[in-house]
Amino acid sequence: MNTIEVKNLKKYFGKTKAVDDISFEVRRGEIFGFLGPNGAGKTTTIRCLLGFIQPTEGSIKILDHDLTQKNFFIKEKVGYLSGDVRLYDGWTGEDHIKFLESLRRGQKSISQKLVSDLNFNPKIKFKSLSSGNKQKLGLILALSFQPELIIMDEPTVGLDPLLQNTIYEILEEFKKQGTTIFMSSHNLAEVDRLCNRVGIIKDGKLMTIEGIQELKDKRMHVVKVYLNGPFNQQDFVFDSIEIQKELPGGLELGVRGDINPLIQKLGSYNVRELEITHASLEEIFLEFYGASTNYLENKNQNKSDLLEIPKME
C-alpha cells in the first residue's frame, strides 16, 4: 500500500525545469527522506504534493486519491511542517491552535498533549517566540489532528540538538502508530535515525531511491590521525581508504563505508590524537552523483553496479 504515488511529475517555471519527470512511491507507515542539494527541486516537489502549485505534467495520488480531485479529503489527513515556520505575528500559539481547530471542526485534536509534551507556552505571541519555539508551534499545528501523512520540509533546520531529538522522538511515536512521514532534509544524522528509505533529487531529476542501509554503506568519514612515533603510510591504504593529506606526525584519510578496519589498524599504533568527522550529505551527493546520469537511466544497469562504491578521486 502506498501513501504517496507520484508519476512523471514535471514542474517548469518558464524555461526552468524545477522538477523534471520524477516518479516515486512512499509506502504506508514508512519515513521517506527526500534528499538533495539546495535548488534540487525538493521544495517544489513538496509544494506540488500539498497543492500549493500545480504540476506542469504528471499525477500525484495521496492516500489512493488524486490530489486534484480530492484535495479537501486529502488535506484533512495531511499535516505539514516547513523548516521556516511562518505564522501570524500578532497571534499567540493558542490563537493558532484554536483557529485550526475551528477550520477542522469535527476532527479530534491532540494539541494539548503536544503542547505539554513539547513544553510549549501557548500564551506567547508568535513574534515573541524563539526560532525553536516557533518550530515547536509549527510541529504542534502539523500533528494536532493526528494526520495519516506528515509532509515536512527540512523540519529541524537551525534547531538545537535537544529540540531536534524531541522532534525525532515525537515523529518516531507517530510512525509507530502507522503515520507515514515524507521529509526533505540535509541532515544525514537525521535521515540516518529516522528514515526507512530515501530519494535523492538533483537538478530536478530523481537520481535514486534507496533504503537507508544502502545509503549508510556509502557513508564517508574524514579521519585526521596524529601518531606518536614513525608509521608506514602503506598500512593505511585499503580499498575504501584514501590518504588525502599528509599532516605533521599524521595523516588525513578519506574513509568510505565501514570505519572499523581503520580503527583496528590504528590499534597497532600509539595514537596521539584522533578526529573523525562525517562527510556532509551534500558531499556524498557530489561524490556519488556529481557526474552521474539520472536514476531512470541507471535503473537499467545491474543493481550491484548502481550500488558499487566508486573510487575516490
Partner: protein, 267 residues
C-alpha cells in the same frame, strides 16, 4: 469559511474602529463648522459665482454647498476625505488578504488546511465587505445624531442615498484590489496599481470638466459615477453608477476567484 470570516474580522477590529472613529471625527468637525459656514453662505455664494462653472464641477462644488448641510457635507466630506478613507481601508484590507499573506508566508498554513481556495477567497472577501459596510454605516449615519446635537436640519433619506452610492464606490474599488491581491504575491503592487489607477481616474475626471474636448474621459473615471452632490443634495444616483460599480465589482470578484483558485502560490 465562517472561521476565515470571523478571524479576519477579529484581527482587524481595531483597524475598523480607527477608520470608523476617523470617519465620525471628520464628520463631527465639518458639522460643527457648518453653522459658521452657513452664516457666510451669502458671501460664499457670491464668491462661487465668480468661479467658472467647469471648475466648480471639477471639484464637486455646488451652489448649495454652503447653504444646506447636505450640500456642505457632499463637498467637504464626501468629495475628498471620505473617499480617501474608504480607499485606504478597502485597498489595505484587500492587499493584506492574499498578496500580503503570500509575501509574509502565512498563506501556507491556510493552504495546508482542508479548506478550498474558493472558500478562503470568499471568506476573506465577505469579511472585508462586512467591515466596509460597518465603516459606511458609522461614517455616514453618524451625521444624523451629530447634526441633531447642533440643531441642524437634515434630510435622513438623502443620507441613505449617499450611503448606497458610497457603498457601491467602495465595493468596486475593493473588488479590483481583491483581484490584484489574488493575482500578485506582493502587496506593494496592489497598493501601487490600485492607487495609480484611482489617481489617473481622479485626474481624468478633473480634466474632463475643465476641457470640453476631453469631456468624454469622465466616463473612464469612478469619480464621475461617484457623485455625492447628486446623491446627498438631490437624492439621486445615476443608473450608470449602479451599472459601472456593480458590474466591475462582479467582474473583478469572479476574476479574482478564478485566478486565486488556479494560480501557483510560492512563498
Amino acid at each position: 469559511m465562517f472561521a476565515i470570516f470571523s478571524r479576519a474580522i477579529k484581527d482587524r477590529r481595531i483597524i475598523i474602529l480607527i477608520y470608523c472613529l476617523a470617519g465620525v471625527a471628520f464628520l463631527w468637525m465639518y458639522i460643527a463648522l457648518f453653522p459658521a459656514f452657513k452664516d457666510q453662505s451669502a458671501s460664499m455664494e457670491q464668491l462661487l459665482k465668480n468661479y467658472p462653472e467647469s471648475f466648480l464641477k471639477a471639484f464637486n462644488v455646488d451652489i448649495k454647498s454652503f447653504t444646506t448641510l447636505e450640500g456642505y457635507l457632499a463637498t467637504e466630506q464626501f468629495s475628498f476625505m471620505w473617499p480617501l478613507l474608504a480607499i485606504f481601508m478597502t485597498v489595505g484590507f484587500a492587499a493584506a488578504s492574499f498578496a500580503g499573506e503570500i509575501e509574509s508566508g502565512t498563506i501556507e498554513i491556510l493552504l495546508a488546511q482542508p479548506l478550498s481556495r474558493a472558500r478562503l477567497f470568499i471568506g476573506r472577501y465577505l469579511a472585508g465587505l462586512a467591515m466596509f459596510i460597518v465603516f459606511v454605516f458609522f461614517s455616514i449615519f453618524a451625521a444624523l445624531p451629530i447634526s441633531a446635537i447642533y440643531h441642524i436640519n437634515f434630510k435622513a433619506e438623502n443620507f441613505v442615498m449617499v450611503a448606497i452610492l458610497a457603498f457601491l464606490f467602495g465595493l468596486a474599488i475593493y473588488s479590483i484590489a481583491m483581484f490584484l491581491s489574488a493575482l500578485f504575491s506582493d502587496k506593494g503592487k496592489v497598493f501601487f496599481i490600485t492607487g495609480g489607477l484611482l489617481v489617473v481616474m481622479y485626474v481624468l475626471n478633473i480634466l474632463s470638466a475643465l476641457k470640453e474636448n476631453l469631456a468624454d474621459l469622465k466616463y473612464l473615471s469612478f469619480f464621475y459615477y461617484f457623485n455625492p452632490n447628486k446623491a446627498l443634495i438631490y437624492k439621486e444616483i445615476d443608473s450608470w453608477s449602479y451599472v459601472v460599480f456593480l458590474g466591475l465589482a462582479f467582474i473583478f470578484t469572479i476574476l479574482g476567484l478564478i485566478i486565486f483558485r488556479k494560480r501557483d502560490i510560492t512563498t
